[in-house]
Symmetry: C2
Subunit: 431 residues, 2 copies
């Protein structure tokens, strides 16, 4: 099979051998920064103390607050004149999170990005329309450099201006677009409303990322634009995009484990979760020179998808992002993520758009109650039908979250509608 | 003297020898496009027919309308798979003007851009804040790649958000900024209003372009930001920025004549103007592979600055852009540009902000009348003082535009003020 670089098809053994060598190397590099010099010394970590990959867990985690506390350059391992790029998170409060890159770091990033795009079939002959913001946000320049590495005709279209985007897409026979999922839906609807058949466009691939989205959203994008849509995962702390990417199997995103160590941990205990269970993704840069980051708590919830991918790559796959670790609920000692509940509910065709998770306390015991709206046509008089539905929802939720919730079926529009964002979780344990 | 590449300091002879070789070469390349194949054949032009540099004038000019008529790719000399970038003018009407680049074209563009920045002292140690839009506009990515070539720490800040720009500038000790003149004035005023002394910033160089502006604006930017501000000239049809750039003498912009042939012609007759006279800049790409453009009518008015530059470079200098060819007036067979008149008027400290150029016809002869507001403190009772001022303005205008205008001195606020943009030229010849 054609591949962008050899590491793309390394065996597990090759990956893990390289990971250990690179982990020792990056820890040595990290110790050249003021922050890690202190942090690693306190933890008794030095390259030679790392005997196996499992020893990565001896390294203390790094948080967003750590990065903020080191603003502007406390994690840099090299003098500023060696740095050639800076990106920063927009951030809503406090100091932004800042990432510095050397030329080597940029080259590696472009290579990883090119590998992602190549994996889903992007080639030199393609016309690549980059419909995302450039600037400090890593999404735009990240894919721009990846496409340049592949030799695509890159159109730095930037975001917005649907009419112009469509004109470019038609007139230059764009074959690949990078687009955020919410705009892809909007754009697809605009295309449909324009009366033009998506099949007349040359577009065949959409690269979608930067926003959590559901499988339903992906399918809708694929229908509206008549494309294959591939999920992209990244964060500026790990370069930007190019961290994990779906292959053509569309069965999870391969994390490039020659460049990163990925762990999934319980956000509460920081212990690894069992194979296939949901937890917080923790990432280590293995090759970054200017600003290595060790065991970064991404706050993103996902799980490793067990088993081998049919594509033949051995880099492990993560599931789409299932939410933020901050949203985690702990009920009877079990971690529950609202997104898990939502996914189960939405798999029932009878279920409407609104639901609510209510935490209750009864006889000193925490309980979880799920109130869910049923579509009008399914809210029938026959109680047996409704009781059967209630039972099926309860069982499926129990299978997923491992405790048995109480499920209330509510008629359509029966739940309070908040202005704007719905309040999905109500904690009534204190009252 | 340190230079970015040897061509920067070529002698006139070296420049002109290379120009002839490259002109023949680029004409041969251009003929591979459908548009020039036809156009050049009709004009009887082939590489071997070009015996001297003066023969460039035998080549028909290319206009923006030509580019539009060839939308989307009629000027391309190579199949699309050889193209790696597309930029487009935003344009207000009709099809956009589209430029395609091969990887070689991008490399050359980045080299020229790096040469410009290096010329004014930008070095690897600099922190470069790129305060301009990325995307289809060539300004952002143009300087981005130039800075990358030099190894600067590039901060792709993008436009707007003054508070964040200032925070970045302070926290990362930005030394070089790319900023459009109008925003530089706004930004400088915001800095002053914040109570911070510009001298406390590390900023030492501002690269300003993309908008015509006066010497007064440049001086104001230099004062407000405590920097040296260097003028940049470019247009997407000639790659983007990197066509002409000021050296530290700040006495006109060196056109990189190893990469372009620059001519200044009478917009009406297309004949070359006399040395030092104002006319329309006509440009030919000498090295572009994917989409050469021959004798492009930029519509920009400027003049060659006579004589050698004190910096020792032999690439000829153009003056700042003095307006658009479309604004040209023809009076008694003489071309007059409103911006010329404005520059003369504004050199008198007695002159206020408002003026008007009125075209009149008297006994079948065209006349030009210049009405100019005089500041309140200078509009004195003593008619001798005013008559003396009137005479001095008349003489200086005559020296510049070569015909003698009538000059009316008007008291402050004595001229009509239009909403928004002032109407500078009134043609009353028909009435
Ligand atoms: Zn796969
Ligand atoms: Zn000079």
């Amino acid at each position: 099979m054609e591949c962008f670089d050899r590491a793309e098809f390394w065996s597990r053994e090759e990956i893990e051998r390289a990971q250990l060598v690179r982990l020792r190397n990056v820890v040595g590099q990290a110790m050249r920064s003021p922050f890690y010099a202190k942090r690693l010394k306190e933890a008794g970590i030095a390259p030679e103390t790392l005997k196996s990959l499992d020893d990565v867990r001896r390294i203390p985690c790094t948080t967003k607050d750590d990065l903020r506390s080191q603003y502007p350059d406390g994690l840099n391992t090299l003098p500023q004149c060696e740095m050639v790029r800076m990106h920063a998170s927009s951030g809503t409060t406090g100091s932004p999170t800042v990432i510095h890159y050397t030329q080597n770091d940029l080259n590696l990033w472009a290579d990883l990005m090119a590998r992602c795009m190549h994996m889903v079939g992007v080639r030199r002959e393609d016309v690549f329309q980059n419909i995302t913001g450039y600037g400090l946000f890593t999404g735009g320049l990240g894919l721009h450099y990846g496409a340049e590495r592949l030799g695509c005709l890159t159109i730095p279209a930037g975001p917005g201006n649907t009419t112009r985007q469509l004109k470019i897409m038609r007139d230059f026979r764009t074959t690949v677009a990078h687009i955020i999922p919410s705009y892809a839906l909007y754009f697809g609807a605009a295309l449909r409303d324009s009366g033009e058949d998506a099949k007349n466009l040359a577009l065949r691939i959409a690269l979608i990322g930067a926003e959590p989205h559901t499988e339903e959203t992906r399918k809708r994008i694929e229908e509206l634009l008549d494309v294959k849509a591939y999920n992209s995962y990244g964060l500026s702390e790990m370069n930007g995009p190019g961290v994990a990417f779906e292959c053509v199997q569309q069965a999870g995103m391969h994390v490039w484990e020659d460049a990163f160590i990925a762990e999934i941990v319980d956000p509460d205990t920081l212990e690894p979760v069992a194979e296939g269970e949901v937890g917080e993704l923790v990432m280590t840069t293995l090759c970054r020179q200017g600003m290595p980051i060790l065991r970064y708590r991404t706050k993103d919830l996902t799980r490793f998808i067990p088993g081998e991918c049919a594509c033949g790559r051995h880099h492990r796959r993560i599931d789409r992002i299932l939410g933020r670790a901050d949203d985690m609920l702990i009920i009877k000692g079990v971690n529950i993520y609202p997104m898990q509940v939502e996914q189960i509910l939405m798999s029932f065709p009878e279920v409407g758009e609104n639901y609510q998770i209510v935490l209750e306390r009864e006889n000193y015991l925490d309980q979880i109650r799920v109130k869910v709206e049923i579509k009008e046509e399914h809210f029938v008089e026959d109680m047996r039908v409704l009781r059967d539905l209630q039972k099926r929802i309860t069982n499926k939720l129990r299978d997923e979250v491992l405790i048995t919730p109480r499920v209330d079926l509510v008629q359509n529009n029966g739940l309070p509608k908040a202005e704007g964002k719905a309040q999905r979780v109500v904690d009534s344990r204190e009252s």
